[in-house]
Amino acid sequence: MTCALILQTPERLVHLSKIDLAIIAIYFLAVLCIGFYLKRFAQSGEDFFLAGREMTAWVAGLSFLSANLGSLELLGWAGSSYQYGILAVHWYWIGAIPAMLFLAIVMMPFYYISKTHSVPGYLQLRYGKAASGLSAVSFALMTILMSGVNMFAMAKVMQVVLGWNIHFSIWISSLTVGIYVASGGLFSAIFNEVLQFFLIWFGALLIPILGLIETGGWKGMVARIQQNFPGQDYTHAWSTLGRFSNNPMGMHWTGIVFGLAAVISMGYWTTDFLVVQRVLSAKDLRSAKLAPIIGSYFKMAVPLIVIVPGLLGLAVLHEHLVPESALQPGQHSYNEVLPLMLARYCGPGLMGLGVTALVAGFMAGMAGNVSAFATVWTYDIYRPFLRKAASDHHYVSMGRWCTIIGLFISIGTAYVVMGFASIMDYVQALFSFFIAPLFGTVLLGMLWKRATPAGGFFGLLAGTSTAVGIFLSMKLNPNLIAVFALSPLAKGLAQDMYQALWSWLVCVIVTIAVSLATAPKPASELTGLVYGLTPIPKEEGVPLFHRPIFWAAVAFALFLILQIVFR
């Protein structure tokens, strides 16, 4: 009781009992113990930064998915589904599944066979130091800033939902993450992500189960939504995308297909090192190919615990939630729909599990950011540019120190964001913009042997500059939204789609133009890096059920069925 009084203030969305606090405390204790246990195994560079490259397909696959299944993601997309309805599901299906399967079948062989430790590492092998350095610096900077932004967001959520002191949340969670990642490196991060995966499912799955029982099933839920919000379509994923004005997102199907599916999601799932690092830890090529495919099946199911609770909120909550910007005392924002639903159905014990799932999601996200930062800093910035020939032990020490230093920078960022909240939107938006041109650079590097080092560097630079330029132009002059996003009605998410599309196109065009004007690398230097020059192991003689391509085809068929059912 005393403990509860120290941690909590009277204003909070949910109340925790002793058993809930015990469940949260056990989680912190468990991850610290696991971190200390794993320290003895993370001695070499490959162990610390790539978990020894010995993870099974299942561990790598769940970790790959969990790196993307953070709590901000859960709370934010549950809020988006309350705001926009089932349209939010596109970020889980067409905005993820094709890209995950593309990574598995097309791109993973090049990443894995080249034995690279990171995405900038691949760029160094393929294009040289300039493109790799640009990518590494932008990734390291944005990752650590994102970590700070996430840290602040977590502390803010904990303050609103649980009434916890904001400084308490920041310092306790950061120190815990710092200790266990600095101890066990990527081993710790992956173990924690797998634990988080189970916690999130067990913590959140009761909401759709009990919610659908309360509403009398899917049809009952749809009927209640129509009753609460007459004249608005919240339950069709495709039929309202014919015009920008037909849906609350201000979205057109071209933005979803060409912006989200073809560029943003491809860029995120195939070149964001935070997620790709998990797959690189797989023990062999077959496991590395299977990992994203396994992840894709669970990704298709995630809307059950994210989108359905948002829709249930539309159906069963008596109050109408509002945007964060229009929040008045006594009201709740869209982003609070998941905690509200948790409080609606979960009593003592289950509430603790749900809150632990959120805390685990935040901490796993932080761990993912700092472990990826430590790898990219050590291998792609420190080693090539600052200290070329040091011992493996030296680089592992650098990785451990980087983890701690990275966390302190993140804490600093969190406090800066606390003072200037609008920075948060900019950092989050900018991060996604680096990804789209990077996808163009990596894709051309893998599939087109004529792409040259100069082409790769200038293409990436031009694409990134275009992304930042379009973003700032639309912020400073809203009239330009109609130019870049094709309609003045395009809202934030729709603008992101078109920004990504243009920056990717600029990157590809500049890369091709500069490559054609400069001398290509000799074929002997491209072996193992480019399509046509890389011997990919055949799967002849392997039973059909053991082939990644078979399970990828099944996943794609399921994905298509879901599109038709929820069209």
Binding site: I23, D47, G52, E54, M55, G349, L353
Partner: protein, 71 residues
């Protein structure tokens, strides 16, 4: 999961956590059986069956992936 390092599989830790959490949730469900909390559908006693499922799954994982001596 790790032939070279002989690390205890992550599934063992998953099972242990599910077992402990399941037992705590099951216990709270039994304690509040006659006087359930003021949540929607509390008459379904979700903590009892949800906690029970977690306990069973936890036992299965712990037994299947418990640390063994290596030859």
């Amino acid at each position: 999961m790790s032939e070279r390092h002989h690390i205890i599989p992550v599934w063992f830790f998953v099972g242990l956590l599910l077992l402990i959490y399941g037992a705590l949730i099951l216990y709270s469900g039994i304690v509040e059986w006659r006087n359930p909390p003021p949540t929607i559908l509390s008459n379904l006693h979700a903590p009892v069956w949800w906690g029970g499922i977690m306990v069973v799954l936890g036992i299965v994982y712990v037994r299947m992936f418990r640390p063994r001596r290596h030859a």
